[in-house]
Symmetry: C2
Subunit: 364 residues, 2 copies
Amino acid sequence: MEHPENSEAYKGLVVNKGIEQPSSVNPYLKRKPKKRLLSAAEFVEGIVKGDITILSQAVTLVESVKPDHQVIAQEVIEKCLPYSGDSIRIGISGVPGAGKSTSIDVFGLHVLEKGGKLAVLAIDPSSERSKGSILGDKTRMEQLAVHPNSFIRPSPSAGSLGGVARKTRETIILCEAAGFNKIFVETVGVGQSEIAVHSMVDFFLLIQLAGTGDELQGIKRGIMEMADGIVINKADGDNLERAKLAATQFRNALHLFPLPDSGWAPKVMTYSGFYNIGVKEVWDMVYEYIDFVKDNGYFEYRRNEQSKFWMYESINEQLRDSFYNNPQVEALLREREQQVLQGNLTSFVAAKSLLDTYFEDLKK
Amino acid sequence: MEHPENSEAYKGLVVNKGIEQPSSVNPYLKRKPKKRLLSAAEFVEGIVKGDITILSQAVTLVESVKPDHQVIAQEVIEKCLPYSGDSIRIGISGVPGAGKSTSIDVFGLHVLEKGGKLAVLAIDPSSERSKGSILGDKTRMEQLAVHPNSFIRPSPSAGSLGGVARKTRETIILCEAAGFNKIFVETVGVGQSEIAVHSMVDFFLLIQLAGTGDELQGIKRGIMEMADGIVINKADGDNLERAKLAATQFRNALHLFPLPDSGWAPKVMTYSGFYNIGVKEVWDMVYEYIDFVKDNGYFEYRRNEQSKFWMYESINEQLRDSFYNNPQVEALLREREQQVLQGNLTSFVAAKSLLDTYFEDLKK
């Protein structure tokens, strides 16, 4: 609009009309209204239909830290529960460099040859720091990434291991409700996360490398004993003999351990992910195990134990959170710890004084 | 006294004189009045002087479940803390039948040859049921039992593992304050108690037997990986070759594990407790380890970590006790667990509902 001062007709005093103020609202938002969050029922309907977009959105909701998102997420998970469970869940672990991504790519394709759908999830509590070292780069699973029947989802971003593990466990439920009947849960063989993965899968597969021992140093103590199967990767070319030797060593070592509760003696095999050698044999073993534990009742027993475990784990974690995040406790904790370290207070008396502080504060 | 009716002299009606009623109070109690409980200061004075009777009484107090006993016990422990710590603490584990008692007998005598004083304690949370399977029968340690510089104390009687372990840990403090500079903590190689023992000792010795594998089935998974030394007992006579073979197998197996945080590669040796062969070599290894970790700082680091561990362990255990013993929680727990098992409730929602109940009840 032309300013009145510029008008030919009027030369006198004017009161400026003012310029049009820019909108304080982003105009693009007007044209593209914020997508309405689906209702829990709509999520469930979409998931059960196998709608991958809705499944992805639901998983994002599960991973969200917003309380209102969590309310819907929990409702969705609960309504998906009756549709879940009909799957085999495989934990896959191995140190960085063991060739996990390549292996999961060929393992996944092999598993999908039989039909069905495969979800590949991950647990890596360090994923924020390492910017998605696990599954962050889908291109490392070239073939699975473009397969119509696969769903690949990186680890929920960092938080406590308990929190990350819970989200992955809940994502398993959603994936199963969406018809995914094979679940891979990947983790990196360097810590506590193996225990979490072990507590949510039916079979725990440990990928190892042949080596003089140095390569094995990356595997934390106790992990080998959780494995239902140990597979030595890169059993090809010049490395074949070394891989076979490593397999023998692992077999001998496993003989020193007692039989696991499943009654299944863990097997050791060699394969090559890169050259796709021995992959069928590895999976024949996994299927043999599943048949074995379904026959002897351990499969169902273990799933029940896992559900209970997660309930108690969740309780214990939240009890600890409530205590250690209590401001009164936080203010006193380091002091008490120092007194214990300096030998001025017994561990028990220090603990008791902190607990008294906590319970008194809760009553307020 | 002859009954009057049987008397020759008198034939008529008689009123029985009546017999003397037994006292309703135990007469011995009158002569031996109940011993006055020592004050905390008197306990500490006696302990620091090395008075074994007073030490024993203090340990009994530590083991007592009476609240007023616990108050004194905690004061005694706290006052003994500055006198404690100057010792080496050795955990000794092995399945029943491995010859632990005989071994501890000869190990103890060997250790005492260097001078000093030895306390042999135990952790066996099942001790009430099995009526003191561990150390219950001191005669199994014939020589130590009568040695003037040894103090043998069976496992505190049954309770939660955490409770039993805490009492043993507190007993270590009292023993050290009484001048015991070598502490053995025995446990049976079949469960969680190894982890507790491992968290209160400087060196963890695992006694094994040569065998085809069947004998090894008694050792729970994960225990082998805690050992700083594995010693094969009964390496004598016909069994010598088998023991040597077993040692080789264990050595190979241990190579597959990463080096522990101590930087010490666990050693495997053979010996015969019964024939007292190789006992010196076993203890040379233990002393070598102690020198090694004192040099590299791990000894002190680990003791500090253990003190912190016990503070946090004590906190977590009491948090759990408070929750699971809450009547409102107890009334609801099975129901929620069943709902989880039947797939009607997610583990997380079940946990949350129980926690809400608990925290609401605490506020009352």
